[in-house]
């Protein structure tokens, strides 16, 4: 089987000393930021972008991937122990997990979260290995019209799943696309939206934008909130769940893993959606749904498996189609592009070492997380107590260094300052920044595909309706918009996405 030789190649790449080191570093760092409230994987990946440019692209991606799934582990630890979900995707875990901790069963809750995540991680690694190659082969057949429609569909799916108003989300995508166009136009050489600033000739620096919005603007918002009380940590006790617990959870873990794997692939999906959906499903199928919310171990097992599976399978659209399903993926696309690698179907054929290395590293990383995390729980508890005032000056400092060192360009720092104000206003006005970031990354590509498609058809817009694949994506986009506009589903969606 070709897949197995590919996985073997991947392990050959991922198991080198250097890459294991970066994998461990990423997973550990991810756990730390997952534990710390107020700083998430997006911020961390954004802060590490400049560092990643000095690394091999494979190592850089391995480290960033580690941060992403490591954060899912860390987030659940604090959700269970002190009812503060370190990550949005762990919000659901705190419902039953923290109840369990109060009942003196913190250990088994943590244990099942880790074991469920590990199992889901293993399965998701295989899903990526088997699912990605056919998708990439299909994508190789795509022409510019198909790509344009695909990107449109991806952006609309991201809108549907964003929290808050749909109109605002669409507007943020459009604004992101516009921001992405700033700088010299590749085809005409004309400088667009530079307003006479020499430093903007290369466009708005992606790192400056993402650090401003996800780093510093978030700090400004966090500082306005009153410092919350850190809850009481119960006795952790025995970490390993009993056999009865494990048997009780096996169906939930299986359901969570399958649901998470599927939802992760969808654009706009990923860990957050997966955990919410898995919990809802468990409640629906359970024989005694009353126990949910009262410390049911299945309420921890299912969403934890689902969010880890979703986190990993969300790499599929990123690596095979070049479509980011969430902001973290958008940042990774940005990182790959700086290395001269355009994410898309060619990555698998041109850089198999990179693709399979990253896939294999996910399995290694998950193993490390189980081994590292459970014994280190005491340390994580102490970390949670770190006051925010000790953290945010560091975030600001790292963002400044990061933005400046990308091009040694002071304009980038000024651009970051501008977007801090902009990002702050967006957060104040409930305009989610995630669609903006996705639009920003896809903007130049979408324009290029639109240009090429119209060039081939000599300006006839019917080109988008001439291929069944393109029509399929357009119909899917229209359906998504229609569905979300229907009042009944809208109410449901708000309910499901409300924190």
């Amino acid at each position: 089987m070709e897949v197995f030789s590919n996985i073997a190649l991947g392990f050959g790449v991922a198991a080198t000393f250097q890459n294991i080191l970066y994998c461990a570093l990423g997973a550990l760092l991810g756990t730390v930021v997952g534990v710390l409230p107020g700083i998430g994987p997006v911020t961390t990946v954004a802060m590490l972008l400049p560092i990643s440019f000095t690394l091999e692209p494979t190592s850089a991606l391995i480290m960033m991937a580690g941060i992403y799934y490591g954060a899912q582990y860390g987030g659940s630890t604090t959700a269970i122990l002190i009812n503060i979900p370190g990550e949005a995707s762990s919000v659901i875990t705190s419902l039953d997990g923290h109840k369990m901790a109060r009942m003196g069963r913190a250990g088994p809750a943590l244990g099942i979260a880790a074991l469920g995540s590990f199992f889901a991680g293993c399965v998701a690694t295989f899903v990526v290995s088997f699912g990605a190659p056919p998708l990439a082969r299909m994508a190789l057949q795509f022409g510019p019209a198909e790509y344009f429609s695909l990107m449109l569909c991806g952006l609309i799916a991201a809108i549907v799943l964003a929290r808050g108003s749909i109109i605002k989300a669409i507007a943020m995508v459009v604004l992101g696309l516009l921001f992405g166009l700033a700088g010299s136009d590749v085809n005409s050489g004309i400088r667009r939206f530079t307003f006479g600033f020499q430093g903007l000739a290369d466009g708005i620096e992606f790192v400056a934008l993402s650090m401003a919005v996800y780093g510093i603007a978030e700090v400004a918002i966090n500082l306005e909130r009153k410092a919350g009380d850190v809850g009481v940590v119960g006795q952790v006790g025995r970490v390993f769940p009993s056999w009865a617990d494990i048997r009780h959870c096996i169906p939930s873990v299986l359901r969570g893993t399958s649901l998470g794997s599927v939802l992760g692939v969808l654009p706009g999906g990923g860990a957050l959606l997966a955990s919410f959906a898995a919990y809802t499903l468990e409640k629906k199928v359970a024989s005694h749904p009353r126990t949910f919310g009262e410390g049911d171990i299945r309420g921890v097992a299912a969403p934890e498996s689902a969010n880890n599976a979703g986190a990993q399978t969300s790499f599929i659209p990123m690596l095979t189609l070049g479509i980011p399903s969430n902001p973290t993926m958008a940042l990774m696309i940005g990182a790959l592009m700086v290395h001269g690698i355009t994410p898309g179907p060619r990555v698998m054929t041109d850089r198999p070492d990179l693709f399979w290395g990253v896939v294999a590293s996910m399995w290694i990383g998950n193993l490390m997380l189980v081994v590292l995390n459970l014994p280190m729980i005491g340390l994580w508890i102490r970390l949670v107590r770190m006051p925010y005032r000790m953290m945010f000056p560091a975030i600001v400092g790292f963002c400044c260094i990061g933005t400046y060192t990308i091009n040694s360009n002071v304009t980038d720092v000024a651009v970051m300052a501008f977007f801090v104000v902009f990002g702050y206003l967006c957060l104040k006005l409930d305009c989610e920044p995630a669609p903006l970031i996705l639009g920003f990354v896809l903007g130049p590509m979408m324009e290029e595909y639109l240009r090429r498609a119209l060039l081939i058809s000599r300006g006839d817009p019917m080109v988008f309706l001439s291929s069944p694949i393109s029509v399929g994506f357009l119909v899917a986009s229209a359906l998504l918009l229609l569905v979300v506009a229907m009042p009944m589903i809208r109410a449901r969606r708000e309910e499901a996405l409300a924190e």
């Binding site: 005409s188 006005l429 119209l454």
Partner: protein, 148 residues
């Protein structure tokens, strides 16, 4: 005329402003003709869509009732922006040590419960750490001390 949904109203206004800037700038670029899309084509399209969306939000906010905007606290925001700008002004000539210790020290005062002594300590530790990580370990192109 009353604003019933302040959050929508202000975001509508923000999108309209960006759309207006986009329209003005894009109208200066060539639209292209036939199958040859000019540099102005896509930005113009996007600006129009953005303008329409902004207008919808704005008009809707006069009819439908929505959430209020929580009061803007200027201290954290302005302190953070100022610290970033000061960093930008200092870093090319003054080097990492001076710029970074300044930015972290100023930024620390964006919070309400800042303790001056702690902020100074934190700034020193962060600067030492960063010089170690970014300059010596990662060899990023940064000068440590002022260059004249």
């Amino acid at each position: 005329m009353t604003i019933r949904a302040p959050k929508d109203f202000w975001s509508g206004l923000m999108f309209l402003t960006f759309a207006a800037v986009g329209l003005m700038a894009a109208s200066g670029y060539s639209m292209g003709r036939g199958g040859r899309m000019g540099p102005g084509y896509f930005p113009l399209m996007l600006s129009i869509v953005l303008g329409v969306l902004g207008a919808i939000l704005l008009l809707r906010s006069l009819v439908l009732t929505g959430e209020k905007v929580e009061p803007i606290q200027l201290r954290p925001l302005l302190t953070l922006v100022a610290s970033v700008l000061i960093f930008g002004a200092m870093i090319p000539t003054l080097g990492l040590v001076i710029s970074l210790s300044t930015v972290t020290l100023i930024a620390a005062f964006a919070g309400r419960d800042t303790r001056p002594k702690e902020a100074v300590m934190l700034s020193i530790v962060l600067t030492l750490l960063s010089v170690g990580i970014f300059v010596y370990a990662l060899r990023l192109p940064l000068s440590v001390w002022p260059v004249f």
